[in-house]
Each structure stands twice: as C-alpha cells, then as structure tokens.
Amino acid sequence: MLCLIISQCGEDKIIKQWNSKAPLLDKKEEPMNTILGKHIYHGIDHHWKKDIFATCGECLDVWDEERMEPVRSFTWGVDTVGSVRFNPIETHILAATASDRSIMLYDMRGSAPLRKVILKMSSNRVCWNPMEAFIFTAANEDYNLYTFDIRKLNLPLNIHMDHISAVLDIDYSATGKEFVSGSYDKTIRIFPVDKGHSREVYHTKRMQRVQCVRWSSDNKYLLSGSDETNIRLWKANASEKLGALKPREKEAFQYNEKLKEKFQFHPQVKRISRHRHVPKLIYSQQRELRIMRQSEKRKEANRRAHSKPGSVPFVPERSKHVVSEEK
C-alpha cells in the first residue's frame, strides 16, 4: 500500500489510522482503521522505517499496523507513561516519559525494558538527536531541558535553562545541531545542543501556552501549536534571507556571518547580537529566577564558609537534578 498512515490516539481509548491523502471532494474523510483499546492512551509514535507504531498509557504497547492487538507490551511499575518516541537511527530503541518522574528506555526487540532514570521532576517529552544515536533530550517540568547520553544516564550531558515555566515539547533540528522547545510560558526557544542557554526566543502577543513544536525536515522552519488553537510557522534562523540567493549575495552573507563570529566578544557587537525583546512578564520572571538562584548560591557559600571544611561539599549542577538511575 502506497499511502502514508497517520495514527491518532486520544483519551477515549481509541486508536484511529488515517490516510494522509486528501479524500475525494464529495466524500467525508473517515479513518482507515479504528482500534478499541483496553486503556487510555496518552501518546503515540510511529516507527521510522517499518509499519510499526507504539502507544503509551498504562503500559507501553508496540503495534503492527496490520493487527488489532499489540505485538508487545512493556510494563515497569504501575505508572502512567506520558509520551513515547522512537529512536530515528537505531530504530528499535524507544524512550518514554512516565508519571513517576522517570525517563525509560526500551528495546522493541526484547521483552524487558532497558533502564530508567528518575529526575527530581517529571519530564513531559523526550526527543532523540537524529544525527547522534545515543543522545536524547528531555523537556522537564522544572523549566529545564536535560540532554542525556543513554550510556551514562546517571548524569545529564547538559542542562539547558532559560524557560520560566514548564517545558511542554521539544524537537530536534534535522541537522542535530539545535533543538526547539515550547513552553508553558508562551515562548518558543531554540537551543544549540552543546550550549546551556538559548540562542533565540520567539513569542507573539496572541500565542498562548505552546503545546507542541516541530522542526521542518529541511532545517529552515519551525512549527508550533499552541493553546489558542493556532499552528504557527517560524523561520529557524530569524535573520536569514529566504529564497534563492545569487552567489555574490551568498558569499556576502557568509562573510558577514564570519565577521560576526570573529568579533563576537567585542562588547558592542555582543550587545547587539544578544539583544532580544521579550514580554515584560518573561523579563521580570527571568530576573526573579536569577535572583533566586543567586541567593541559593550565596546561602550555600555562606554555609560552606561557616562550617567545618568538607562538611558542605560542592555538588555540581548537573548531578543536582538526577535522583537515581534504576536498573
């Protein structure tokens, strides 16, 4: 069959499969297949190559498109699994977030899950890096995003801070160099993978809580869906000129970029390139958070200064957020 299949699940215990082709003019669009499930489904994701999809709810199910029963079910504890994502490179690996604040890894080929890492607060979504098979990033309720290497789950590789409210969704760029996150603070931010802070923040007056974000496959656009039921299309690089460029033009842009990179440390250049306008709420909230963090730091320093040496150890920021890694 040559048509694509879009699967959909809802909290009505039903999975519907739709044809991605538009229906004929006078026909009403109807799902190709409907599966009545046993429990409520919270998330769904399709395999990158095969006709397989995975749903999550009370347990994580792997389905074959041809069958009405799940091919495999994974359970680990009695928690609700909130979201699931297939690894785009090693396509048999899955990552899921659960309500017990954990991120779980599964291998579709085996009968048992792989491993679980529990953070201080629960994660909303995870996304795999499409260029680096073992890297994924989780969007967390504690305003941060955590990038993990699946081989070293006890410590995140990087913590990405900048949001001032829970991060609801995340998606990697096709190049694997950046990712976009949508948050409850009504902003979208773009983070470089290896940096702790965002390089760009998008917001509009009318955009409400951002529920989902996606990066287009050609790396040029972002898509965001928000609470006020709008889908928005953004440029991934706001200052980029779109459309075909003449060679000289292209060269000039490249040269300008290089100059900006070269002089990025000069105060005035830095000031201009860093400057972004944000809504007042976000600005003040950010400042508040900063003050809170500083005061915590100060307090810790004071405590350290006034207690026996070694009794208040330095705890790296990265290890503060991981509770445990469960085998």
Partner: protein, 722 residues
Amino acid sequence: MDPSSEEKNTNKASDHESDEDEVSDRKHSSLINTIGSLDGRKRKVNERSEPSAQVSEFHVGGSTESRKIKLHELVGTFKNTARHSALKKQLNSVRKSGKILSTPLSKPEQERVQRSIAYDITSKEISKWEPIVQQNRKAEQLKFPLNQPDLKLPTSDQIIQRFQPRTPLELEVAKLLHGSQHVFTKDKPLSKAEEKALKAMSLEEATRRRAELQKFRALLSYKEAKQRRQNKIKSKTYHRILRKEKLKNTKRDLLEMEGKDPEAFAEKLNQVEKERVEERISLKHKGGSQKMKKVMAFGKYNDQARQSLQDMLTKNKELTEKRKAESSASEEEDEDDDDKTMDVSMATSGQSLGGKQTYNPWMTHGAPKSADSAKLVPLNNSDEDLANDNTRGCYRKPEAVQNCEVASDSSDGEDREDSHTVIIKKSDSRQKRLQLDRNEEQEDSEEEIISQSLERKKTYEEFEDFETIDTDSIAKVKVRKVGKPSKMVEENDKRNKDVYIDPKKVLTVEAEIIASQNSQLVTEDNDDVDNVNDADREQRMTIAQAFAEDDVIEEFTQEKKSIREKDKLKDIDLTLPGWGEWGGVGIQPSKKKRKRFMIKAPPPLPRKDKLLGNVIISETKDNSIAKHQVNQLPFPFTNVKQFQSSIRAPIGKTWNTEMSFRELVKPKVTTQLGKIISPIDKNSMFKKQKVTGKAFIESKRTERDSHNKKKASDHQKGKRKV
C-alpha cells in the same frame, strides 16, 4: 517394614484404583487395613509426631536455621535399602562432581538481570556510532543532506568503455581503428606494425635505430627543460643581457649582409625606413592613445606602468631616429626649423654618437660636430629659451636647470664656470659619470657636464650603480630645492661659498619628496608627460612657498615641551589660609605651614618619547575606545596573544586570495531550502566498514589457511625426516 509386602500392597492398590476411580478415601483405607490384616502382622506406620532438628525424609530441619541442607542428610534413609542402589550411585556421582543447580531467582530480581543484560548489549551496540558522531562534531563543514547522490560526470575512459559504434561513420572509423596495424594498444608499448618492423629488422639495425631515437628524445627533453628554465628566470639583468645579445646578433647579421648581399641589405634598410615613416605618421608610440594618457596621469607610482611607458618611449625614439642613410641636407633643414628642441636633440644625438657607440650600426655620423654644437646651445640660451624649455618639458636634471638659471642670472662666463666647479666638487666622481650617462640617454643639452666627464660605462655593474645612485643624488638636490624654496635664488648665489643645510630642519620634508622621486625620473625623458609633472611641481612649490615662514620644527618642539609639562604630576597644596592663624585679604599663610601641607608630586617616570626627537607619544589612556575593547579573555583562548592574533588575521577578500577567502568564510553547516534531511542512515554509514571488515576477515582466513598449509607441510617434512 517388609519391602516385598509393601510392593504387593501398592500394586494391588494401583490395580484397584485403575478399576474404580471414584472410591471414597474411607473405603480405601478400610480396604488397606483388611489387606494388611490378611498378612497376620500389624502394619507399622511411620508418622511425624513432633518437630525435630534431625533431618529425615519427613523433616528438612528447622526452618529458623539458616544452615544449608546437605544431600547426604536427605539420602540418609537410603542407607539400609538395597533396592535404590542405582539411585544412590547416581547421587554419589553428583555429590562428587559438585554440579548442582542454584535456586531460581525471584521474579523481580530475574527481571532486573534481564534488563541490565539487555541494556549492556544495547549500549555496546550503540557505541559503534561513537567515531561517526565525534567526526561529525569536529567536522569543519557539514553539508546536509549527508548522503548526496554522486553527480560526477563520467570520465572519458568510462565513456570509451561503454561506447558502441552505431552510425555508419562511427562503424567505419571503428573498423579502421581496430583493423589497423598502427593503432596502439594500452598494454603494449609498440603497435603491431612496429613490432613487425622490429622483427623484420636485424638486431644491429634495430639497436642502432633505437639508440638514435633515444638520443633524439633526450635532446628534445634537454631543450625543453632548458627553455622552461629560461622562461622562468625573472632577473631583469638577465633579460637585458639577452636583449642586448639579440641586438648584437642582428647587428652582426646586418653587417654581414651588407658585405654579402647588398640587395637584401637595402631592402632591410627600406623596411626600417618605412617603419620610421609609419611611426612618424601615426605617432603610435608617442603616448597619444587613451591608455597611455591615463598611465601618464595616474600610473606614476606604479612601477609596471612606468616601465611600460618607458619602453614605449624608447621604442618611439628608436623608430623616429634618423639614420646615416639620411642626407646631411635633411639635417640642415631640421636645423633651419624654428623648433629649437629639434636642434638640441640632434646635437646631443650626434654628440652621444661621438661619445659612445650606439646600437644603430648605420649611425656613425656627426661625431666631430658634437663638441661645437653642444657648447653653442647653452650659451645662446636666453631666458626665453629657458622658459621654453621649462614649458615644453620637464624636469631635466635639476642641477642642470639650476645651473642654467645661474648662468642666466649672472651672465658672466667666469662666474658660471665657478658655480659649476662648485657643484662638481660636491658631487663625487661617480655622480659626474652618472650625470654624463643620463645626459647621453636623455639626449638633452647638458653639454657642460659632458665636457668634463669622459669616463665610460663598461660593465653592467656600472649601469646598475647609475640607477641606484641617480635617485639618491636627485633626492639630495630636490631636498635642497624644496627645503628652502624661498631662499633658492640666494642659495644659488651663495653656491660658491660653503652650502650648509640644517639636516634636522630638512628632515620633515624629505620623505614626501623622495616618494615622488621615481615618477620624475621616468618622465624626464618625455616632453608630453612633463606637462603633468610641471603642474605638480608648481603646486608643490607654491605650497612650500606658502609655508615658508612657518617654523614647523620649532613649533613641534614647543608642543612636545608643553605636553610634557602638562602630563607631569603637580604638587598638591592643602594649606587652608586662615587656619590656625590670622586670615584676611592680603595675608599669606606662613611658609612653614605651606611646606607642611604641601604634598609633593613623585618624580615623573621617564617618558617613552624622551629619546625620540620627532615623536610625541601620548601615555594617557583614551577612554572613548575602551567601550569597544574586549576586557576579558574569551573562553576558547588561553592567552592574550592568541586572541589578538586571531583578531588581527583578516578574513576579507581584500586581504586574502579568492580561494583562501572561500575557505575562511565557509559556514559550519549548510542546508538546502526544501531538501529533506533524513536521520543519519545506519546502512549507508556502515557500508564501507562492512566491506573493509569482510576484507579483513578474508585476509585473516587466507593467512590462517596459509599458516595451516605451512604447518601441514612442516609436519610432512618432519614425517619424512623420521
């Protein structure tokens, strides 16, 4: 208990059970009792009555005890029975070997083990991506999509391999090519025909021919190499020598031709004359073209442009020069002309001929005449003439101009002679020679100098010296002229006496003039070009005159002094008048008090420009720039020097070649609009590695095989020996 009876009992019981399944337990037990009573003996029943620490077939020992149960304890009851000997043997063997299965794990534990094994396998499997990931992270540039199709054009070899002749013409050609004996094949050095010929030849002949061919080839390659080498030589001197040599050869040829073949010689002369006429008509090399006008105007400071201009002018001179073949009458005509310049040029040309052998072999006329005519010209030169000269052209030798001025001013022969001797005294003998040379080249009317220097340039070194020293001497002269422009006339008058120039005062203007030296040198020869320079010079003169009164040097020293004073730290006076003593108008605080409350400034540190005469170095910090400066060493750099050098290296096209510019501005990641970038693909990424892995395995296998073979053969050998 008797075992035989027991066996019987059980047998019966089993029979009974098989017959009737639904017999109640009570009935069954009563049946057994009756059967037991049939034997006449009371059946002894082993029953567990109370808990004991002893291990038996009914009791495995206290559950509270953590001690493990040994096998022999369980099997202890078997001791007396002979019936279970086989089982006992088996148990004994098990006990000796010690291979006992451990107890199964609990379910959660089991699952944990499964998980950790699965995780280990997965993480090991996924680690194979590590090198690729690292490589991509470190890559200078990543072009997405990563697996782009190979769009290379097929090479000619590939096309040839695929080529099939189809059209009749192609077929014919193919037939010829493949049928011919002379077509070369790839793998053989000789064609079939050649091979045949070689076979037909005797061995001696073949070797001879081969040697001959080799020799020719070698000669050819030697010649080629030599020419290539010669082409690469950049030395001007070398090329000059080459040119001269060529000229000499042609000259010699011409002379030979004159003796041998007068007709051809005449023809040659005609041709040269024709060229001259053409040149005079067209004035192609006079500098009338648009390009040359531009070069004259703007190309002053461009060495190449100047050189081309010079070449053009010499070419012009060469072509328009009159030769021996021309009659003396024409010369007279020229002399009659109003144009005095012609006169002068003719005279000098003649004189130059007399003084030196020119490159024109047929110009051997006018040598004796030179002395007289040369002498005549400057004497006859009135002021008007001089003015004429100036407007027409250019800077001739500046000294000469000055001399002329002197001559005209004084109008006294002796005086003039004196002034001249002064100049000569100052300039060394080399300079004299140079002046002579220059005049010869210029073919201008500088006869006095000529008359006094009779040396000749003989070697190329002398020519070279001339070039370098010439600029120096002119620079000196220029400095003298412009440095004190207003006093020029006076100075000229004072020439007889000692001329003293304060070098310090001249210093400020020197650089400027040296900069414009070269252009003057070049343009001196030509009349037209001189107009431009004349204006230039005039302007400079006026500027110099306008600022004649300003004593720049003095001003500068004053300024420096004032800045030095200003930067000095001053004493701070903290005395409060009227504090602790009488105050009021006109009452000064006491000396003692002033001394007490005066904070003395520390002695100033030595200034950087202290020893530098003509420089002021400001040592105060400029705050206006500070806000544009980086005040912290940025992250990836480890020292300031590194950072500074990175900032100093320019990226732009202006400072880099096109290729390096492209290399420098290359973005780290490139994507194409609308091109889908799919996730990195496992199959395509590991395809290469797989192939190499296979090859590795193959090689290993062959190695092993060979090793085995060797072993086998060794073995056999050993056998044989035995």
